[in-house]
């Protein structure tokens, strides 16, 4: 389903660019962005600021050797929130695999930029085992 709300379109375009390997998201993400990864594994925690976010993206990509594939199913937006429903598949070098449903949520500020992100997996134990 194609997004209709302008905020959903903006963040979809930013995430598309990230998935193509870009780490330049200055017109969609606020400098003080907090990117929250929940769970009990090495990538989990609150990653604050764009430098920390870029480090996280690089580590994620290293751990999955380019197999990290979020497949968006719907982008839904409002003035303050954007939700992306997606299926995630990825593999680790040692053969571990993941295939889970997620909702990724962005909270926007009055400046229209994303200030906060969090990701909700339908199967947290699978995430923890995969990223451990």
């Amino acid at each position: 389903m194609n997004p209709t709300h302008p905020n959903a379109i903006k963040l979809r375009d930013a995430i598309d660019a990230i998935n193509r390997g870009s780490l330049d998201v200055g017109d969609a993400f606020a400098p003080d962005l907090v990117w929250r990864i929940v769970g009990n594994h090495p990538l989990a925690g609150d990653h604050r600021g764009l430098d920390s976010w870029r480090d996280l993206m690089r580590r994620r990509s290293q751990l999955t050797g380019g197999t990290y594939r979020p497949q968006p199913q719907a982008w839904l937006g409002s003035d303050r929130y954007v939700f992306c429903f997606l299926r995630l598949t990825a593999q680790r070098d040692d053969g571990r695999e993941i295939d889970t449903s997620h909702v990724a949520v962005f909270r926007l500020g009055e400046d229209g930029l994303a200030h906060e992100f969090w990701d909700v997996s339908s199967d947290q134990q699978a995430e923890d085992a995969f990223w451990a």
Partner: protein
């Protein structure tokens, strides 16, 4: 901009839940619904099928004396998905209280019934302590 019909539908469903009208709430669910409850507490796990799910809702209402409320802060929806950010409040008969923000993900069947649910609280330890 125009809201998707499922925004109103989600709002109505939550109103039925908050009123304690579980018969009316049940009308929104598919028979084969899967409902994931995150955490380490007594009620955490996956509820599969509408009967198991509503046994869980009845139990949750019993231990909270019907005080549990899900107050939507934002609802976004499309044909097959809805995202809700909500303030969830309640109290246990023994005096424990809950007041948290939750992010909830719903997917719908082709005919619009709730098929899958998963969620994340801002403070999972608070949720675990409340339901234990």
């Amino acid at each position: 901009m125009e809201q998707h019909d499922n925004v109103g539908r989600m709002r109505d469903a939550l109103e039925m839940f908050n009123r304690g009208d579980l018969d009316a709430y049940r009308e929104y669910f598919d028979d084969d619904v899967v409902w994931f409850v995150r955490g380490t507490h007594d009620m955490a796990g996956a509820y599969r099928g509408i009967d198991a799910l509503f046994d869980y809702f009845v139990r949750a209402r019993q231990v909270t004396g019907g005080s549990l409320r899900v107050e939507p802060i934002e609802i976004v929806a499309g044909d097959r998905h809805a995202g809700v950010v909500a303030r969830v409040r309640g109290s246990r008969v023994d005096g424990r209280t809950l007041d948290i923000e939750m992010t909830e993900a719903f997917t719908f069947t082709e005919d619009g019934f709730v098929k899958e649910f998963w969620a994340l609280a801002t403070e999972q330890p608070v949720v675990d302590a409340f339901w234990d």
